[in-house]
Symmetry: C2
Subunit: 340 residues, 2 copies
DNA sequence: CTGTTAGCGCCTTCAC
DNA sequence: GTGAAGGCGCTAACAG
């Protein structure tokens, strides 16, 4: 806090002058090149310290052709799935001296192209494309001169690298948990059939039921991802199939709706009826009555993984291809297991 | 899709060569300098088109000292207030050829300093600092060589420029709405007293009540921002003050809790009891029974405004000082006005 | 009007 | 070991 920094940014030649050497020597000294006498190096380092010099990355990248930046191209910042992924990625890159350009295409292909072009013009070293659904999305193609990783929404081109949640696995461990709790008459209320997430979770759930020698009560009930649908569907279900002892819900929102209806119909949760959701959206799960068991998709981890793949590819490690699946984890709360 | 782009990025000299002119002339032609013959300019433009040339912003900013980037320094990406602000800012900048570096300090001062330094090293042209509460936060100080705007959380230094929601106004229009609905026995259940947002909204609410010649039923009930508190507080309130005909809640979450308890106690909303919240968090408001009236803080607009201030300051317009307040707007739904 | 020269800040040969 | 020179891609100032 002693001195106010100079208006003009301090450059390498300022350091060199103060240390009484040439810029070339100063550069070598600061970059750890081993053709410089130790005492000289120390003089340069001290000078740099004193002027609180930090090399201009602009100049550096002009020469190196690398910018130390990556683009994060999201299709949608509204959705709650993108944010944790973004956090994970930002976190992973931040540790590695890489900074992240954020671009939000707001679900618009035109805007996506526009941002893509802007990012490439800025010479980002890599790209993460984050979608809002787990359904495959159009590939950006292969004439992009930097590594690209697709997160959450996989690319429809298998020669791209994509990282996406393993929803089949998620559905399976959900049912396994309910079965482990002693439930045998399990129903499934979920979101839009148009979403791969809904279909995949249902697939996993049905597979786990089969393994356990059980059958789903009624059909999988698809509609939308809302509390409202949860309420309505539960009313239908509990009227037609009062024997149900567990409802697996396609999202925490749906589960909240089911809990409301269960309460209206005087079914006690979890003793009489177990309820669980997906996504582990804490605002919804921890404030529910009782608190809601859910499957967390580990999205932060997904974002971090995507970042690491890009990061590795920067050091010319070959970027893989195909789709990598991230498994979710079970978070048990009072809606499936009685709490004391 | 005819030709694959060259591995090496095309440079201005490629264009110049193709057009048969010098780089300098090519530069002038493409930048609209008026010392170029029209036919020459056309030749250059055509050549650029043909090679799909886009100038290297790295080189350009090395020369200009401006990078066309700004830093978005958030204290927290978890919170639901930061995201809309971020969207607004990204949107406003995107239109102006400016790209945004996203840095998340995750509530940690050390990390904030680290990111700040990284952003300045990258020579961002401006900075937006987004906080997670409306309480004043420590200023980053004045030895930052670029314009800084504080969004949501204002700076504690009045000579900085801050943009923050007008929560007093929000509290006022909320009560005015309830009064306009014919309510006279209004209570207020809100979040932590430690939050300026809670105190400011209460202040505005009390002022509006006074103007209307009314008094609050009971005291302002402060605790935390959760549904759970909404449920518990409503139970207390409706037992001790059954005459209450409206509950103003400090957040949509609290309001959801109040709605639940009202239902448990067989109070009909809105006929018997009006309920409203703040924040207009759509997942909560539009799925409530009935849908929840709320005050929207216009955070996207806040973000956009912050971006515009920075943007203006880039063109050497003097950055203002002090705190600018953004007013919220009333969003009426079925929890205060009967729907037919 | 157009081309030559110089330089933004840095790093890497290549002489000395 | 060290320094001088050249160049990354671009633009501004000057000559022609």
């Amino acid at each position: 806090m002693a001195r106010t920094p100079p208006a003009r940014a301090v450059t390498l030649s300022d350091v060199a002058r103060l240390a009484g050497v040439s810029v070339a020597t100063a550069s070598k000294a600061l970059n750890g090149r081993d053709q410089v006498k130790d005492t000289t190096r120390q003089r340069v380092v001290d000078a740099a310290e004193q002027l609180s010099f930090s090399p201009n990355p602009i100049a550096r990248s002009l020469l190196a052709g690398r910018t130390g930046t990556v683009g994060l191209l999201t299709s949608d910042l509204e959705g709650r799935f993108v944010i944790p992924i973004l956090m994970g990625a930002e976190d992973a890159f931040g540790a590695g001296q890489v900074n992240v350009f954020l671009c939000d295409a707001r679900g618009d292909t035109i805007r996506e192209q526009y941002h893509l072009k802007a990012l490439l013009t800025r010479r980002v070293d890599g790209l993460i494309v984050v979608g809002r659904q787990t359904d495959p999305r159009p590939s950006l193609g292969h004439d992009i001169p930097v590594p690209v990783v697709y997160a959450y929404a996989p690319s429809d081109d298998p020669s791209d690298l994509s990282i996406t949640p393993d929803n089949v696995h998620a559905g399976r461990i959900a049912v396994e948990h309910l079965v482990a709790c002693g439930r045998t008459r399990i129903a499934h209320i979920t979101g839009e059939h148009a979403y791969a997430a809904a279909r995949d979770r249902a697939e996993g759930a049905l597979a786990a039921l089969k393994t356990a020698g059980l059958e789903l009560v009624g059909d999988v009930m698809y509609s939308d991802w809302s509390e409202r649908w949860g309420r309505d569907a539960a009313a239908m279900l509990l009227t037609r199939h009062p024997e149900v002892d567990a409802v697996l819900c396609g999202s925490d929102q749906i589960a909240r709706g089911v809990l409301d209806t269960a309460r209206d119909l005087h079914r006690t949760v979890p003793d009489d009826l177990a309820v669980m959701g997906f996504d582990n959206w804490e605002v919804l799960t921890t404030n529910a009555r009782p608190e809601l068991t859910s499957i967390d998709a580990n999205l932060k981890h997904l974002g971090r993984t995507a970042a690491q793949r890009v990061f590795a590819a920067l050091d010319s490690v070959e970027l893989g291809t195909g789709t990598e699946y991230v498994e979710g984890r079970l978070v048990i709360r009072g809606s499936t297991v009685p709490r004391r």
